[in-house]
């Protein structure tokens, strides 16, 4: 668990792989959702095009320091989260920078991006951004509770907080996954996952019709580009945590891509079916459904 | 009506307590310690025939000093209270009927007699029953008679107050003399106790009783004077 200089290029490699996989994955799921609605959907490479367009635009306006730093916070939150958690179990190369902190670091680092995004949106001065932030924060905090309970239950079960040890404990077939040994925790975790993915039932924050795309309202061109990069990396980074905690981690990149895709499909499927919640409905939903499951997970571990 | 009922109830409550006192009371056959001491030692030590006077003046001299001060206080405070209501000269006469012939001549003749009896009473305090208070009261009744006879009569306040002040200071001085020369404060033996039963016997008791008589007489007179000089309030 010590720091060697070789870790830097290896993490960059992981970052590159995950970035591309993320762009393709989000476009693919978008396409599947469109097809479910009998629409043709966007082409697979669409995200690349958007990214290049936004990076290419030359813009020269800013709403102030915090507005400027907003996307930087956001993206460094996503990248940091990815690098603090080992992606591929067993390979020294892809254990990234997980020597710096354990599961709790990952859990709390999620807030780093959210905080930056909120501050940037606030600085932009647009009321829709502020309303979006208020809704986003309310929802994220409510969603946070079941995840914390699930993580606590898992930590109690495996008597450790280090992610690599947890994954190690789940090796050897599906029977050893947390999904089987501690199903309640997994259910609570997945409920929280739904909340944090900003997909249909809980996507009032970015609601395109009500408050045009919420917090990033005032962002455009290169700022938006940074955010889109993050939009690719951040979900994958979160799903890596869920994969490591609940679904036995990935021992090879193929297994990694498959599992991430399947986890993503869970929120996509739920998103397509359910209508949008108002924020207090979602908070109440978490407190009445997700939390009892979490509590049961803790008590019965 | 409720007040009568409640008062009756409380009185019954007290009555029960007092009844317990009365029933539990057995009179002594013999004199108790203190009384026995007084019976045997008064004649020998203080040479006073009247034991009650001896107790009042010497043994419990402080009580009497306190009690004379009570009268002095009463007179002073009555003066304080009635001072603002002081009426003009002769205000008292308007309402009262003119005094009858019999009253004026009788009072002119009787006043000196009453004064003499008063003085006799407090001078012989240590021999016969009676003493400073009784004599003082008699002197006051003399002043009372004069007031009845001539309602407008203005007493000379200065004289009354000087008598009162002088006798008060003298009384304290006698007490201090007792402290200096005899056994303790207000002890009468700094003067010879003289022949038992004679007028000038029992040390300073007659002196003290005379002072008390004068003071009490003056105080009562000042109370009466203050009362008569107040405005008549309808």
């Amino acid at each position: 668990m010590t720091f060697e200089w070789i870790k830097i290029p290896q993490s960059l490699l992981t970052l590159f792989i995950v970035l591309n996989y993320g762009l393709l994955l989000t476009a693919l799921v978008q396409k599947i959702a469109a097809r479910a609605g009998r629409r043709h959907g966007i082409p697979i490479w669409q995200n690349y095009v958007d990214l290049l367009k936004n990076y290419g635009l030359r813009t020269n306006i800013t709403h102030g320091v915090m507005y400027y730093l907003g996307p930087v916070f956001r993206l460094s939150g996503g990248v940091g989260l990815l690098l603090f958690v080992p992606t591929i179990y067993g390979s020294e190369m892809f254990s990234n920078l997980s020597f710096a902190g354990d599961l709790i670091l990952a859990l709390y680092f999620i807030f780093f991006g959210t905080l930056g995004m909120a501050l940037g949106a606030g600085e932009s001065g647009h009321p829709h951004a502020a309303i979006g932030v208020s809704r986003g924060l309310s929802q994220v905090t409510a969603a946070e509770l079941p995840l914390a309970l699930a993580v606590f239950s898992v930590a109690l079960q495996y008597h450790t907080l280090s992610v690599t040890d947890i994954v190690a404990a789940q090796q050897g077939g599906v029977a050893h996954w947390t999904l089987v040994t501690n199903p309640l925790a997994v259910v609570a975790g997945m409920f929280s996952f739904l909340g944090s993915m900003m997909r249909s039932p809980f996507d009032v924050v970015l609601a395109p019709q009500e408050i045009p795309i919420g917090p990033p309202t005032e962002y455009h061109s290169s700022y938006l580009a940074l955010m889109q990069t993050n939009r690719a990396i951040f979900p994958v980074a979160k799903m890596v945590i869920y994969m490591n905690l609940f679904f036995g981690g990935a021992s090879s990149w193929a297994e990694f891509c498959l599992k991430i895709f399947l986890i993503y499909m869970v929120s996509a499927l739920v998103g397509v079916v359910f209508p949008r919640f108002r924020v207090e409905q979602s908070i109440r939903w978490f407190l009445t459904w997700a939390v009892p499951v979490g509590v049961a997970a803790i008590l019965l571990v | 009506m409720v007040r009568h009922l409640a008062a009756g109830l409380l009185t019954i409550g007290l009555a029960l307590a007092f009844a317990a006192l009365v029933l539990g009371y057995q009179p002594d056959a013999e004199l108790n310690r203190t009384a026995l001491y007084y019976a045997e030692n008064t004649a020998k030590d203080l040479g006073s025939q009247n034991i009650v006077t001896a107790i009042v003046v010497t043994y419990r001299g402080l009580d009497t000093l306190g009690e004379v001060t009570v009268l002095f206080l009463a007179a002073a405070i009555v003066g304080l209270i009635l001072a603002p209501g002081r009426g003009a000269e002769g205000a008292g006469r308007r309402g009262a009927p003119p005094p009858g012939e019999l009253l004026t001549t009788g009072s002119r003749m009787l006043t000196p007699l009453i004064l003499i009896t008063g003085i006799y009473v407090f001078v012989n305090g240590h021999l016969t029953p009676g003493g400073g208070f009784q004599g003082g009261a008699i002197l006051a009744s003399a002043a009372l008679l004069v007031l009845l006879a001539d309602p407008g009569h203005r007493f000379a306040h200065r004289t009354i107050e000087t008598i009162e002040g002088v006798s008060g200071v003298a009384y304290v001085a006698v007490g201090l003399l007792g402290l200096a020369f005899a056994g303790g404060f207000l002890d009468n033996r700094f003067l010879p106790t003289g022949r038992f039963g004679a007028l000038l016997s029992a040390g300073a008791i007659p002196v003290i009783y005379t002072l008390i008589g004068l003071k009490v007489g003056a105080e009562f007179a000042s109370i009466l004077a203050n009362l008569t000089e107040t405005e008549e309030r309808r």
Partner: protein
């Protein structure tokens, strides 16, 4: 002789109680004050029976004499009517 004392005390006691009742019950104030004076007078006689001449003289001179006079004087000043 020995029977005379209790009889006299009994008589005085009754007289005093009647006078006391008078002070409380009567309508007019002067009667009440006189009754109080009477109580004090009977008391001084009772003191004589209880072998204490000094107290008897004091009670007579101060109790019935001066107190009653003080009451009548204030009553005179205050208008006499029983406006209590």
């Amino acid at each position: 002789m020995s029977v005379l004392l209790p009889a006299m005390t009994g008589l005085l006691a009754v007289a005093m109680l009647v006078a006391a009742a008078m002070t409380i019950v009567t309508r007019s104030l002067p009667i009440a004050i006189l009754a109080a004076g009477a109580v004090s007078l009977f008391a001084s006689v009772l003191f004589l029976l209880l072998a204490s001449p000094d107290v008897a003289m004091t009670e007579a001179a101060i109790g019935s004499g001066l107190t009653t006079f003080l009451f009548f004087f204030v009553l005179g000043r205050v208008g006499g009517r029983d406006n209590g």
